[in-house]
């Protein structure tokens, strides 16, 4: 008797290859998320530095040292994110000097605010170039994304935790587009430019007041 169509074995569904047990055991989901956000922060920092630097020939004097500082800060910031927030334990009595030195370097690395330094260096590098509104606008969006990625990498939280910041960030990006648009139209010297400068100064004072911890 030949088996009917229902009895013949159909094409087997392709088995998904299982992850090796040692890999699954070693890489926890939290660690994977932290690695992904750290990598994203590093890439955004690199992209911001590169975007602010090009084209180098049109940059003003002093752009090379600023570029060097920006690259250094971005790289060390990425290393600091990769190093994480380890506890500074007591050194063992017979620790080799290389491990002792590594521990000191790591402590120093955690002490410096590399992300802030990167932001300042990148904006300074951008300012050394001539006026190019749309270019600066994209850089601003990239820097905001960089800061959010650094925050996620540091805290180990999921991107969904930033949902509360989304409306304000979107409104801010809208203002960024408006500012870029106004710059692209061109702002001749006059009372409008003066008003704008006054508003910027007031906003700067407000931001500084917010910086004072309460």
């Amino acid at each position: 008797m030949t088996p009917g169509p229902a009895m013949t074995p159909g094409p087997q569904p392709r088995q998904r290859q299982a992850r090796p047990a040692w890999l699954a055991a070693r890489i926890s989901p939290g660690l994977r998320l932290r690695a992904a956000t750290s990598a994203a922060a590093g890439l955004l920092a690199a992209a911001s530095v590169a975007w602010a630097a090009i084209p180098m020939h049109s940059a003003g004097a002093g752009s090379r040292p600023v570029l060097t500082i920006a690259i250094g800060c971005a790289a060390l910031g990425a290393v600091r994110l990769a190093a994480g927030e380890g506890q500074a334990g007591d050194p063992a009595p017979f620790e080799p000097w290389i491990i002792r030195a590594g521990r000191e370097v790591l402590a120093l690395l955690r002490l410096v605010p590399w992300a802030e330094a990167t932001v300042v260096a990148v904006l300074a590098l951008e300012a050394l170039h001539g006026a190019r509104a749309w270019h600066t606008g994209l850089l601003g969006a990239a820097l905001l994304a960089y800061l959010l990625a650094v925050h996620l990498a540091e805290t180990g939280q999921r991107p969904a935790s930033l949902r509360g910041q989304l409306p304000l960030a979107a409104a801010g990006l809208g203002l960024l587009v408006l500012a870029v648009g106004s710059a692209a139209i061109g702002a001749p010297a006059g009372p409008a430019a003066g008003w704008f400068r006054s508003l910027a100064a007031i906003a700067a004072v407000a931001a500084a007041a917010l910086a004072v911890p309460v």
Partner: protein
Amino acid sequence: MMNEQAPVTAGEPLPVRVSWRLSRHGRRLITLALAGLLLAVVTRRPEFAGVAAPAVLLLAGWRRDRPQAIGLRVALSSASITEGEQASVIAEATGLAGHAGRLRLQPADFVTPAWPSVAGTVTADGTARYRLPFRAERWGRRPVGTAELILTDRLHLAEGRARAWIPQLACYPAPATLDRPVVLSALPSRLGEHPARAAGEGIEFAGVRAFVPGDRQRRVNWPATTRRGSLQLNTFSAERAQNVVLIVDASTDVGEPGASSLDLAVRAAAGIARCYLTARDRIGLVIYGGHPAWVSPATGRRQFHRMADLTLASPAAHGRAGALTRLPRAALPAGALVLVLSPLLQPALIEALRDLRERGCTMLIIDVLNTGPQRDAGGRRPLLLRGPGSRAAVVSPLAQRVWTMEQQAIRFSLRELGIPVVHWDGQQALDQPLAPYARRVMVVRR
């Protein structure tokens, strides 16, 4: 009353002050805002003000109605665990006012948290519950550390920290593996599980003898009776329990923390106690330190906990300790097997052991010395023995040789007195070094 670091334990949540400060994310946003606005003013380019705009708007969400104090209750999932086991810090927080929180453990020595921090689950009544597992790596009654609750607002701009002490944890030593106990040839007449030389009512077959009126008929050995032509009877060994006394040398502690001589001694003591108590023997403990402490031999599970509590309550006390011979008879009963767990570095203890042996005590020493004058990183200079936390010093190769020979001489002299000395490295099962003495009964020599 509000505390900066409250010793919070079980019961109702206690008010704990929260110290708020700008978060790192907030600081970075302020940097971006200030840098953008400054460049906009200096370079007169409005696009830089646009760069600052998202950061300024995010900072505008700064909340001032933050809770200055919260209710916090911290407890441990278990008050006592064994070395290497896992327990959890359980925290309950009330009055968070919608702020998200993460529990972090600032661990004390030899405590390893499973994760850097954990998020909590919020119940319907607004109470947030946190559970952070940790592992205790070394025995002792030790602090776990400080529980820190980190609160963040909706925009992650401010960070509030509330700290609370975690109750102490009793961490019992991990028992070494010992399946086969050392049994003496002469056992006191107390009912137990070890077959003795004397005939008795046990189940271990001892031999055959002629029938005597009054013997039980069910013990007649019919094959032997047929062979010999007269009634023969099976005899059995009596089953006795033995008294065992453990002497743990806490007067010296050398080696790496976690594998020091005292660590090994208490782990071995726990393993031996468990093995003998399983065999329903009576076991006691003497801690030889600054002030000798003891638990008289007894049997049962409660005795194990009594011994473990004595071990935790008697920290290492370096220096000259009191004489063992002054211990009461109840602590060191006659005819007991004395197992000594020591690195044999304290001359007073060695003298006391010699004295005990000369009084007819049957002893066995388990040597737990696993360190010695070590070489430095270059492998050239030997280093002095060191205790946990002490600094190393350099000794000459000649001094190292003299030290090694002295140690060998001490062990040789003890063996000559009839005290067996076995070495245990803390890695292998205790059965291995004790095998020569556990394979057959240990003959008692007075």
